[in-house]
Amino acid sequence: MKVYKKEGDVIQIISFPNEVIEKGDYLLIEDPIVDKGLLVQVIDVQFANVPGVFEDILRDAVLEDEAEGENYDPMEVSSQISILKDTKLLICRIRGVLSNGEIVFGMNYLPSRTLSRIIPYKIENFINSASRNRPFQVGRIRGETELILDVKALDGKLNIVTGKKGTGKSHLAKLLILNLVKYGAPCIIFDVNGEYVNLNRKKTGEPLNFGKFINLTPKVNMKFTLPQAKLTPVLNMMIYSLDLPSTSARVFIKIWRELERRRELSLTSLGEAILRWDCHESVRDALYARYNMMVESGLFTDNINESLDFEFLMKSVSDGGAVIVNLKNQSAMVRRMIVELTLNKLTELLSNWKLQAIFLFAEEAHLYLRETYWDDIVTRMRHLGVFVTFITNQPDTIQETIYRQADNIFLFNFSNEHDLEVVSKAAKIDSETIKKIVKELPPYYCLIIGDAVNNFPVVVKVEPLEFETMGETRFFFKN
């Protein structure tokens, strides 16, 4: 390999066919004169524009179509000529300077074209060495070397897992959840497609020997009594999920407090109180309509025995476990109600230090997350200890501000230009790297950007899971 050109922080390298270099690989340009090396990442591999190669290929094409024949090359010069046709131009982005065994960011210099030696650099060694306390194998680089991350890299962070359908997003999310649980972290998952419900089981059917996994199914084992649900979560649910007007909300608060005062707070008494409350007819209608929705949702009960103690539930997974909120087969409205209620309950527990922190995995969050929550999640809720991982195949449903503030982004394949444009706005990396690499990622390969990989973008083949995945796309034709 030889350095050909440097423009800004892009270096072009000539590489011969016997040098197997792929997109995402790291190279070290060692300059013996200055005793340091330029660390670059290959973001695109092109054919080198060798003079005369057009004529050569044209000649090959003509002969391939028209003639059959034989070459007699006594000196075996042709092999060298063939090599030229396949000579590659590696477009590389400078990632840092290696000096005295340490990588320095933001430094740049012009390496010697003639004296520099270019060698593949195993960036995984650098990342792995920093992941010693709570290591887990996220996958393999080039399908060979293990890439070890530390679950701490997800702690207190905002993560995004995105890619088109069938590329392995949920697979990675499950891997992250299981490793968080393994190291004693509590997780909660908003499971839109019911694909996390078997997370606690191996493919053989055996249960996992670590962590606690609880599936919550609305109307079945996810029901609250009103005193357990409490006013603020229920009120927010009424306002944000059921669009309760503010005048009606004020009346609702009065009714709730009155029932509390009388120690008569129940679903039945709430309905009766709304009907007989002294207020404008339109307010009563508005409140009663929402009340009916609450009843129909099946989320509430007056039977204390079938009620869910959310605090107890979350404490039971606080030493390592996952609560899977199954949103499958729920109407959009009920989904929004469940999420609103759950997030409010979580905020309440975290504010009162009844829960230290929680890792929230939100699949296709745009289906149930209200507008105002996006900013809330990256600011207020993050400080309270809700560390969110968004998982989506529609990157434009996540706001640009979220991308900019994301600490880790796991990007799977996108071929759509619009989607690429959206994800390229991630602040931690140049847009060209994303566009060039992500477009050609095979299934189960992802580009990891951010703190988890010490800010060295890495292409990794995600580790297979020994657990029931359930997230694979269902097909009609078997073969």
Partner: protein, 356 residues
């Protein structure tokens, strides 16, 4: 179609060895090998890369023909015939301390019953030094040592390979139309009359007809180029210009061993100089051309088989870089840019376009 099994067995397992012996003269292989070894002896550790265009040495004739005969139409003759074409190219790759490195490559293409086959040999590399010239004089059959260096030597080597391949082809093919690139002019040091006479004689023995088509000859009729000469004639045609040309060639040393025509092979094609073995009568010449236009594809008036032979043998820029890489790997030579004296002396004012 083939006289013996060589060509019919072209793709058999033993072909390489047979072809090596029959299409590349052994002495040329040895000479190449021998000459390349002299790189190490010469103490050179670098090559000044100065790739030049392939050497084109067709004779340049500028005649002013005042009176010409009427062109004879060529009528298609629908009889199967094998068309064989031969071309050889040479190129300079770079300069060492005491010589020049050049390469030659030859190609044979044959079209039979709409199937095209080819055989390409080379590139053969030569390190041309005084020592090699001396060696050539002893073993290569050259009669003169005064050669224009290095073009004369390269031309000789190319001519050697070309005539050898032409001879082999004329020997092995039967009842075929054999196309040479260039003319049937001989008598120069690198192109002896005897060699060509033997080739033509062998061709006649095997009932082949040799048609030499030249691309670059400039013959003018009151200022009209040969390529435009037959433009006004509607169909394929042949014009005898032998007498007009022959007056410009004394019998010694350069001789015309063929009868010279201007030929147009396609309705809207260009016309070219055509040399046909002088011992072939006019009737057979016209018949052969009639078969040629039926059995070959004629694009812009030029036979496709000959075009393919040229494409196969010619060198591209990447061929040159590949050969330089080969030299650097095998002989540990460093490739450096050629020193440009004008550039050194005059800097940006030393432009090659200036005459003096």
């Amino acid at each position: 179609m083939f006289k013996n099994s060589l060509m019919s067995n072209l793709f058999s397992s033993e072909k390489a060895q047979l072809l090596k012996e029959e299409l590349i003269p052994n002495f040329l292989l040895k000479l190449s090998d021998f000459s390349m070894k002299t790189i190490k002896d010469s103490g050179s550790n670098f090559i000044q890369a100065s790739p030049e265009l392939e050497f084109e040495e067709d004779p340049q004739l500028c005649l002013n023909i005042k009176e010409i005969n009427n062109p004879i139409p060529i009528h298609p003759i629908y009889k199967d015939s094998t068309i064989v074409a031969i071309d050889v190219s040479s190129i300079k790759i770079g300069e060492t301390n005491n010589g020049v490195i050049c390469a030659i490559r030859g190609a044979v293409v044959w079209r039979s019953e709409n199937e095209i086959n080819f055989f390409r040999c080379g590139p053969l590399l030569f390190h041309i030094t005084d020592f090699i010239i001396e060696h050539l004089y002893n073993n290569g059959g050259f009669k003169e040592t005064l050669l224009e260096f290095p073009i004369g030597v390269v031309s000789r080597l190319r001519s050697l390979l070309e005539r050898f391949i032409q001879g082999s082809v004329c020997n092995y093919f039967k009842d075929s139309i054999i196309l040479f690139d260039g003319s049937l002019t001989a008598g120069t040091p690198d192109n002896p009359v005897n060699n060509l006479n033997q080739i033509l004689s062998k061709a006649r023995e095997n009932r082949n007809i040799v048609l030499a088509i030249s691309k670059t000859t400039k013959i003018g009729l009151s200022g009209v180029k040969l390529s435009e000469l037959l433009k006004s004639f509607k169909g394929p045609c042949l014009l005898d210009i032998d007498e007009n040309i022959r007056t410009f060639f004394p019998n010694h040393p350069v001789q015309l061993l063929g009868k010279v025509y201007a030929v147009k092979l396609a309705i809207k094609g260009l016309s070219f100089r055509l040399d046909v073995d002088e011992k072939i009568n006019f009737k057979r010449t016209v018949e052969s051309l009639g078969k040629l236009i039926v059995n070959d594809v004629i694009d812009q008036g030029y036979p496709d088989t000959l075009r393919l032979a040229h494409i196969l043998s010619s060198f591209t820029a990447s061929d040159i870089i590949g050969m330089q890489r080969f030299l650097s790997k095998k002989f540990k030579l460093q490739i450096v840019p050629k020193i440009n004296l004008r550039r050194i002396l005059f800097g940006p004012f030393g432009k090659p376009m200036e005459v003096s």
